[in-house]
């Protein structure tokens, strides 16, 4: 009898709690997106940069909370990467983009975004490896040519500038 009561209690109590938790996860992502969009599309074009920066800070907080609740939230990582890029934090952006890739390896364009962020943070070897990895996920010849072109540009840039990867 006790078991039945416990089961009934759980059936009644758990779903709303789970829904509330799920809603909270979604809310963090949506709030993070909203903060980003406010800063990026409403404030920045109007040169309200100080206010925009505050929005980005809030966006990062929300998105991190979302990720803490769900480490496999691709959307949260994608927006987090975007915010870091706008904040000119390429190393952090690269890390977030690589999380997106790990969750969705078929998204070839994100490899390019990650590589760009790696280049900007002077991680040239990793940028090249990221692009080489992207080639495993497409058989589109035009795309493969473009990726090869990007790799060549990294090599050319690195050689011309005589720069090396940050340690």
């Amino acid at each position: 009898m006790k078991k039945i009561i416990t089961i009934v209690f759980l059936l009644i109590w758990l779903p709303p709690v789970m829904c509330a938790e799920e809603k909270e996860k979604v809310d963090h992502v949506e709030r993070g997106k909203a903060y980003f969009k406010s800063g990026f599309y409403q404030l920045t074009p109007k040169h309200r940069q100080i206010e925009a920066k505050e929005q980005y800070i809030q966006a990062v907080k929300e998105l991190k909370q979302a990720i803490a609740a769900n480490p496999d939230d691709e959307v949260a990582y994608r927006y987090l990467a975007r915010v870091y890029a706008v904040q000119k934090k390429p190393a952090e952006a690269a890390t977030a983009y690589q999380k997106v890739i790990a969750l969705n390896p078929w998204d070839v364009d994100t490899y390019v975004l990650a590589a760009l962020a790696l280049v900007e943070s002077q991680q040239y070897n990793r940028a090249v490896k990221t692009l080489q990895a992207a080639k495993e996920y497409t058989d589109d010849n035009m795309v493969l040519l473009k990726i090869d072109g990007y790799i060549a540009k990294i090599e050319g840039y690195r050689n011309s500038k005589e720069v090396s990867d940050v340690k």
Partner: protein, 448 residues
């Protein structure tokens, strides 16, 4: 929405008398693309500049250098009625190593405004018409950056500018269309590259409302960023939706031309038919429109400065690079081969007579030190032209065609700039009627 209008076109020629052209409208047309008239009047001319694909923010300095030239020296010397910038105002790359558009970037729009230098150049919403291309649309579903930073967007709050010019009793309507995607897609390496270009119902409705608002226009010229239909280049995108409806509007309202960019190539063609994307349903435009593709000002090597003139409702164009003077363009008579051989928009031939008007615009930093000459059919003899008293950029001559056989002939104007540089423009015309000069034997008989 359509109304008939009868336009009376009148030309006068001293040698063979007055020629009066009655131009009837095709049912349904408002503007009349065939209303070009062969006029003696030299004060019915306006001209403007069209550029495209400035790609401000691209790696290197060509983007800002070239745009700066256009709005400073180009604008000062050519003194156009207005300038059109038909899309891809910014690059959306911030000069990143790959040239991969991952913007938008406010820094690019700041650079754009700095380059326009409006306090010095006088650029304003009445003389500069910029509208977005796909690079301005990536990841910006509401065009917030364009609307907040472009010359037109800041004033009109819209993405499709519409404006008119009036001259000597004629009215001309110009319309910029936003062919870019409205879904805010990010750029992609995969076709269609994040560029879901087209004209949706709202955009088409606005286009139609503007066309119908100016039913009293003599000519209507339309600009966009994308080609109307598929090209033969796999890197290109075009209007994936709205093309047949757009074509119907171009036809219904008697539009004369569609000028676009996007492809980073130059071509002059005449558009009469296309095929709808995916459905492959064909559509037509009758009689067709001049279909002019201008090269990228920010990234190409040449053919990115287009100067268009309207002279007595006749359209003429030249397209080449910048920082090169003089620029010369024959405005009268109208070229019968603009866009295609014997295009159907030219409603007149050059009569066989002694006093046919020949006019050309010549632009140079020191135009008073320039010279213009013309010749016929590439013959060795050049004939001098004289500068019009009322327009320092206009050169004219009275062209004697009485010795020419009926048929196609070329007219070439050679302009020598103030620094000795020579530039030419050549057109083809059809001379009609019999030769009027009597052979010597007949003259002798009459005298005897």
């Amino acid at each position: 929405m359509l109304s008939k209008r009868i336009k009376h076109c009148h030309t006068s020629l001293a040698a063979v008398g007055m020629i009066c052209m009655m131009c009837g409208t095709t049912p349904g047309w408002t503007g009349d693309p065939t209303s070009a008239a062969y006029c003696q009047e030299n004060d019915r001319i306006l001209w403007f500049i069209t550029i495209t694909d400035t790609h401000i923010g691209a790696r290197g300095s060509q983007d800002t250098d070239n745009l700066s030239w256009v709005v400073h020296e180009g604008k000062n010397v050519i003194n156009p009625s207005f300038i059109v910038l038909s899309g891809d105002i910014t690059d959306s790359t911030n000069g990143n190593l790959f040239g991969y558009p991952n913007g938008p970037y406010q820094s690019e729009w700041d650079e754009y405004q700095t380059t326009l230098d409006i306090t010095q150049t006088g650029i304003n919403a009445g003389n500069f018409f910029d509208f977005p291309g796909n690079h301005d649309a990536y990841s910006d579903p509401t065009f917030s950056y364009y609307l907040s930073n472009s010359i037109q967007g800041q004033i009109t709050g819209q993405t499709q500018p519409s404006w008119t010019r009036e001259l000597g009793g004629s009215k001309y309507h110009f319309l910029g269309t936003n062919t870019s995607a409205n879904d805010g897609s990010a750029f992609s390496l995969f076709f269609p590259y994040g560029d879901n270009a087209g004209l949706d119902a709202e955009e088409l409705s606005y286009i139609e409302s503007e066309l119908s608002l100016h039913t009293d226009a003599d000519l209507t010229l339309v600009f966009g960023h994308h080609p109307i239909e598929e090209t033969d280049n796999s890197d290109d995108t075009w209007l994936f939706y709205g093309a047949p409806e757009f074509a119907a509007l171009l036809e219904d309202y008697g539009v004369s031309s569609y000028v676009y960019g996007h492809t980073h190539r130059f071509s002059e063609a005449f558009f009469t038919q296309g095929v709808e994307y995916e459905t492959t349903t064909p559509y037509t435009i009758t009689p067709g429109v001049f279909y002019i593709n201008i090269n990228s000002l920010g990234k190409a090597e040449d053919d990115y400065l287009n100067v268009t003139a309207i002279d007595c409702n006749g359209i003429s164009m030249v397209t080449h690079g910048i920082d090169s003077w003089p620029v010369v363009m024959i405005t009268t008579p109208m070229d019968r081969n603009l866009g295609k051989n014997a295009h159907p928009l030219l409603g007149y031939t050059v009569p066989n007579g002694r006093n046919n008007p020949l006019r050309a615009l010549l632009f140079d930093p020191n135009v008073s030190a320039c010279m213009a000459e013309y010749r016929i059919d590439s013959e060795a003899v050049w004939y001098a032209m004289s500068r019009a008293e009322t327009n320092q950029n206009l050169w004219e001559a009275a062209w004697d065609t009485s010795a020419l056989n009926e048929g196609v002939h070329t007219v070439e104007v050679r302009a020598t700039g103030s620094e000795g540089t020579v530039q030419t423009d050549m057109i083809s015309v059809y001379v009609s009627g019999e030769r009027k000069i009597l052979p010597p034997a007949i003259i002798t008989y009459i005298l005897w």
